[in-house]
Each structure stands twice: as structure tokens, then as C-alpha cells.
């Protein structure tokens, strides 16, 4: 399976720093801001965004982890690995400005599930979406507020985000699926 590196470690780092700035700018600071990473790779991304914001803003933005396994409408076929973990939100999200963080935005179904999950925890003032990669092919009327990189793909392609924390390396790969 041929694989192309679409983002290097440096690309990933720059994208995160840029998104961090955009988040603070758009929200006019860090007041009431919470970063909620979607498991699995959204969580380290959210943590990195928080770290980046602390570096230039000097403020600690709380980070949470959201597992959407219980909210999916596209449960995998039997026999595939299914993992659900506890969600872990740092505080009451009611009235807060929540930035959902995920690695790849594709059909939008995971985001839909995440919105359902989030709302079960309370009524945020606002929910925004940050993703490292937007690969198109939306099936729901959703868009990201912050995007690291737009990557045009065909449906058969596979986009793989790898991160130091989960995979030992920072990079984004695209491979063509043969079928």
C-alpha cells in the first residue's frame, strides 16, 4: 500500500501552534475556554493546544477527554476491536466555550456523536471544532472552525494521523486503499 507523508512532524507542530493562536484570537482570550479531545488522538492534540496556549498566553486552559463509543450511529461490525473508555471532562461545561478537538474530520458522524455526548454533560455557551486534518466528504452539515490542513482525498483513501503520544511519531499519512 503506497503511503504519502502529507504532514511532517514540523508541519504538525506549526499547525498546532497556529490553531492555538486562532482559538485564543477568535475567543478573545481564554476566559471560560475548555479543550475537549476526542479519543484517541484528539486527546493529545487538545493537550498540545493547551500547552501552546500556555506558552504564549500564560494561561492554563483545562483539557478533557471525550469518548464517543456510546453515541456512535455507525457501530463497527462484529469482531473488530471496539474500545470504550471513560470520558473525563475537567469541570462542569455548562456556560463554557468548548473547543472539540479531533485528528481527522471526514463524514462528520463522529462529531455528531461528540456533540450528543457533550450535551449530555451540560449546556455549553458555545461549541467549536478544531481538527488537524479536514479530508472532505461530509455526510452531515458540519464544518470545522479551526483546521490544520485541508487534504483533498477520494473516498477510498485512508488518512492516518500519527502522534508521538500514541504512535511514537508525528506525521500524517495518506494511502490509497486498493479496493
Amino acid at each position: 500500500m503506497p503511503e504519502d507523508v502529507l504532514m511532517s512532524a514540523d508541519d504538525v507542530r506549526r499547525a498546532i501552534v497556529r490553531i492555538a493562536h486562532e482559538i485564543v484570537e477568535q475567543n478573545r482570550g481564554c476566559q471560560d475556554l475548555i479543550l475537549v479531545g476526542m479519543r484517541t488522538r484528539g486527546v493529545p492534540l487538545a493537550q498540545r493546544l493547551s500547552d501552546a496556549i500556555r506558552d504564549f498566553e500564560g494561561e492554563e486552559v483545562p483539557v478533557g477527554a471525550l469518548d464517543i463509543g456510546l453515541y456512535r450511529d455507525d457501530l463497527p461490525a462484529r469482531g473488530t476491536r471496539i474500545e470504550i473508555k471513560p470520558s473525563d471532562l475537567p469541570e462542569d461545561i455548562a456556560g463554557k466555550r468548548v473547543v472539540l478537538v479531533d485528528d481527522v474530520l471526514y463524514t462528520g458522524r463522529s462529531i455528531r456523536a461528540a456533540l450528543d455526548a457533550l450535551i449530555d454533560y451540560g449546556r455549553p455557551q458555545r461549541i467549536q471544532l478544531a481538527v488537524l486534518v479536514d479530508r472532505g466528504h461530509r455526510e452531515l452539515p458540519l464544518r470545522a472552525d479551526f483546521v490544520g490542513k485541508n487534504i483533498p482525498t477520494s473516498r477510498g483513501d485512508e488518512v492516518l494521523v500519527q502522534l508521538e503520544e500514541t504512535d511514537g511519531i508525528d506525521q500524517v499519512l495518506v494511502s490509497e486503499r486498493r479496493d
Partner: protein, 354 residues
Amino acid sequence: MAKHRTATPPLTAKRSRAAAQTAPPAQVSAKEPARGDGWRRRHLLDLDDFSAAELELVMESTDAMKEVLAREVPRVPTLRGTTIVTLFYEASTRTRASFELAGKVLGADVINVSASGSSIEKGESLIDSVRTIQAIGADLLVLRHGASGAPYLAAREANMRIVNAGDGWHAHPTQALLDAYTIRSRLGDIRGLKIVIVGDISHSRVARSNLWALTTLGAEVVVCGPPTLLPAGLDGGGDANESDLPPVRVEHDLDRAIEGADVVMALRLQQERQQSGLLPSLREYSRLYQVNGERMARAKPSAIVLHPGPMNEGVEISAEVAGGTRSLIEEQVANGVAVRMAVLFLLLQGGKAK
């Protein structure tokens, strides 16, 4: 592939739960290789053929369910549109309520069918009842039955998922899962723990399922009770192969068995065991086999006490121990709902049964 299940980095966890504290390594069983990551089971009948990886998967999923239960409004839409039927041929308020709540928290419709007040009383056979329940559109049947093997019969005859909620003396897999989960959440990795199960092993489905689960997870399991209440073959010998029965040690002296134990599980003693001549008297039983404070002093200082309930305080367990700080008996009940949620979720994850 880098798909190892490393724990996510610790978060600013205000709501930290015991559940999330431990992250046991994935593969633990020396007994059986993990058979892939996937969950392929249609039914939960017993734990005798579970790999350590599968048990871990259930317990990890239980962590997530505990989080749901801790919410202000513990309800998720996961199993919306799914119908779960509980069919209990034996009364059990606790287990049935636990399954019912588990299903409802996950958004399923739960229908309770009692053996009394239905056609079952008129002599309808188990197979007929199971088929009827399937015909009304149930996706999953939770079955409690006095005859060992009844859920296996149901699983052969039906297309829906079957969960064994206790069959005769044979198995009670969700109870064993919640016991293992409770131990794990308090003591961490189960491997290497010394776990003593005390009492009437012969007639205990809880004990049987626990023996499988705990030995598969690598615990050193000692069963202790009077010889009249220990089933044939458990202490080895005979014509069984090594893997035919769980590898446990049999001990008749509780003081010796409990020495250095991490976990002591007392089993319910049915009064009828005395009536059927298996015991001289309850007095002698409790003198020899009651889990009490004096005996618990021989266990590790960190040792915990479990009991599947309902308890006969003063018989198999002293009131002092049952209500004491080592007792996790209430936590067992609380974990029961979460474990059953995990089981329902895993069995129904592929959508509706076809």
C-alpha cells in the same frame, strides 16, 4: 502496529474515579493466548472459554460505564431501538434490577418476564418461551434458570443474544465479572493476587464462574470449604486434563487458606445444605468456615472481602467483617450495573441481532 492499549496521559482529572486509576497490561494469561482483539461473542454463557484479553476488554468497557453512571443524568442513547427481555425462572431482585437498569441507562427497552404469571406456569417449555420472546422482537435475552445449561439450550434454539444471569449450579458470569472488576478497581492487576473463595463451592455458580475468570487473569485461587461442599475433581486427579477445570488449590482449613490472602470471598450458605446432610450443623460450619475478624487478621493488611449476596450474617460471614472497612460488598452491587452495561454493549455492538 502501534495499537497497544496504553493509557491516555493523566488528565486534569477532577472527577477521577477508582476505575481509571489502574491500567493493567493487556496480555496476562499464561493459560491461553489472547485470540485477537475482536469481540466475536454473540452470547455470554460462562467465562470458561474467555481469554484474559477478553476479560480485560469487558473491564475496560466497564470503566466507561462507571463514568456514565456517575453523571447527573445517567443515560446514553447507545442501545436505542434495542429490546432486551429478562426471563427469570428464579427470583432475584438484585440481579434482575441490575440488568434492567443497565439496559435502560444504555437506552434499550427492557421487558421483564417472570416465570410466575406467564404461560411458563402453565408448563410451556423453555424452548417455547424463548421462541416466543424472540418472536416479539427481542434482541437479547437475559436468562436466569434453575437448571444448569438452560442458557446453552436457549442459545442453540434462538437467534437473539443470550446472557446467562445464573444457571443452576453452573455459572453466573456477570457476577464473576463484577467481582473481578471490583478486585481490580481496588487492588489493581489481578495477576499474582491470592484469592480465597470460602464455602459451598459445589452448589455455587458464582464460585464456578469466578474460578475461571480469576485463574485466567492470573490469580492464585484457593478454594476452602468442607469436603462435602467441594465438587468432584477440583483438587486434581481423576481423568481430567489440565485445562478441563480451573487450576485451583483446595484447602479445608480456613485459617491456613486465608494466610496472606489479598481477597477473601465468602459464599452464601443455603440452609438446605444442612437439611440434606452435607453439614452437621450451622454452628459447626460457622465455627470452621465463617469469615470473621480474627481470621481476616491473617490476611494481608490490604485484603478485601467480597460476598455475592444475599448474606447470612453470622453464618458464612461475621457482621463485623460484612460491615467493616475491608468489605467491598456494596461496591460489588454498584459495579454490577456497570459490568452488565458493558456486557450488553459488547454483545449488541454490532447492531440488532440478525
